[in-house]
Symmetry: C2
Subunit: 213 residues, 2 copies
């Protein structure tokens, strides 16, 4: 009956070790029980939509580490030297990934960015990777991930794109909703057009919240 | 700029009170920080897909309470007098809801059931409600919710329907995968057929894991 007979592995040992590493890293900021829950729930939520499961424990550890950082930031226990922008779209496979990468390209270390999706897709769209790579923007180590409470709390600015209702509202943040075509419905030239529209918007936003001088 | 100007409420106070209630209820089982995170993340994850947001804080408290119960059960700190079955489909709006309701109808308190979806839908399908109501099965207080790690851990039997790869595998559990048509694609007569097929399967399963004598 057991699926283990088919060669699928129990992830408990590897996720337990990841939890121990992160508990040490966040010692004094988040308690070990919460860290363990964030790691295992990060794995479960990525597993729900991921197509390729090979690197999932490593992605879950990375995702959990970023979520715990966000939690520490929102509590004022981890420094946040730059304004934090959270980009949210539906699948976190096109618009929000482009916005995050373009913001880093445009504003460098003057801002920090995160991205998420209300219903994360299986992978980042190939056309999105293509049109970002050709202008030197970086999508390495990025992957679709769900919108979580912790990253909303850590954000100074939340930009939603096609999923405005999906995001919890907290006071003291700037919320924007950008109306953009979905790259999933477009050919490469169309995706380039959306890219350039996003670039103009992030240049404006970065200029407002983190001017270069 | 703030969306609060449009009348949308900050949910922090109501979710904080829910966290305090649940922290008291799970005192000695789960620490207060973890409880608070489970409550706020339960809200965020339901908000991502819910269409109607009016009752969302109450649903989030209910969902968080069940998740914390599952966590306590998986740690042996909350009694689990009956075998626990977890039904998982894609949207938690059809097959897994029917399986849970029919198991309760067939086996009563000899088993306990939970259900979840890999990509939860916005609401339970009306045809599913209809064909369950006509045989006296109960879907009251049910709503689509995402598959989480805690409920998998608490389960003795995990039955997947159309989403086998989405569920974390842990040793010591019985995993089954049921091949059933998706009610979302069927008319009411088709949904009745799926209902009767599920009923036959849950009768067999309940007879095996929780015989009536």
């Amino acid at each position: 009956m057991s699926s283990f007979e088919h060669g699928l592995a129990d992830v408990t040992p590897v996720l337990t070790r990841a939890s121990e590493r992160l508990a040490a890293r966040f010692d004094g900021v988040v308690n070990a029980e919460t860290v363990e829950r964030v790691v295992f729930e990060s794995y479960a939520t990525l597993a729900r939509t991921a197509k390729i499961t090979e690197h999932l424990p490593a992605l879950a550890e990375h995702f959990a580490g970023d979520r715990l950082t966000a939690l520490g930031q929102s509590r004022g226990m981890i420094a946040k030297p730059h304004p934090e922008i959270l980009f949210v779209c539906v699948q976190n496979s096109g618009r929000s990934q482009m916005a995050a990468a373009l913001t880093t390209l445009v504003a460098g270390e003057r801002v920090n960015v995160r991205s998420a999706g209300s219903q994360p897709g299986e992978f980042i769209l190939p056309a999105v990777r293509e049109v970002l790579t050709e202008i030197g923007a970086d999508l390495e180590h990025q992957y679709p991930k769900p919108l979580t409470d912790d990253v909303v709390r850590a954000a100074d600015v939340v930009v939603t794109m096609g999923c405005g209702d999906a995001c919890p509202l907290y006071p003291g943040k700037r919320y924007e909703d950008w109306d953009l075509d979905d790259p999933a419905d477009l050919d490469v030239d169309g995706v380039r057009r959306v890219r350039d529209e996003i670039r103009a918007r992030v240049e404006k936003l970065a200029g407002e919240i983190a001017p270069s001088d």
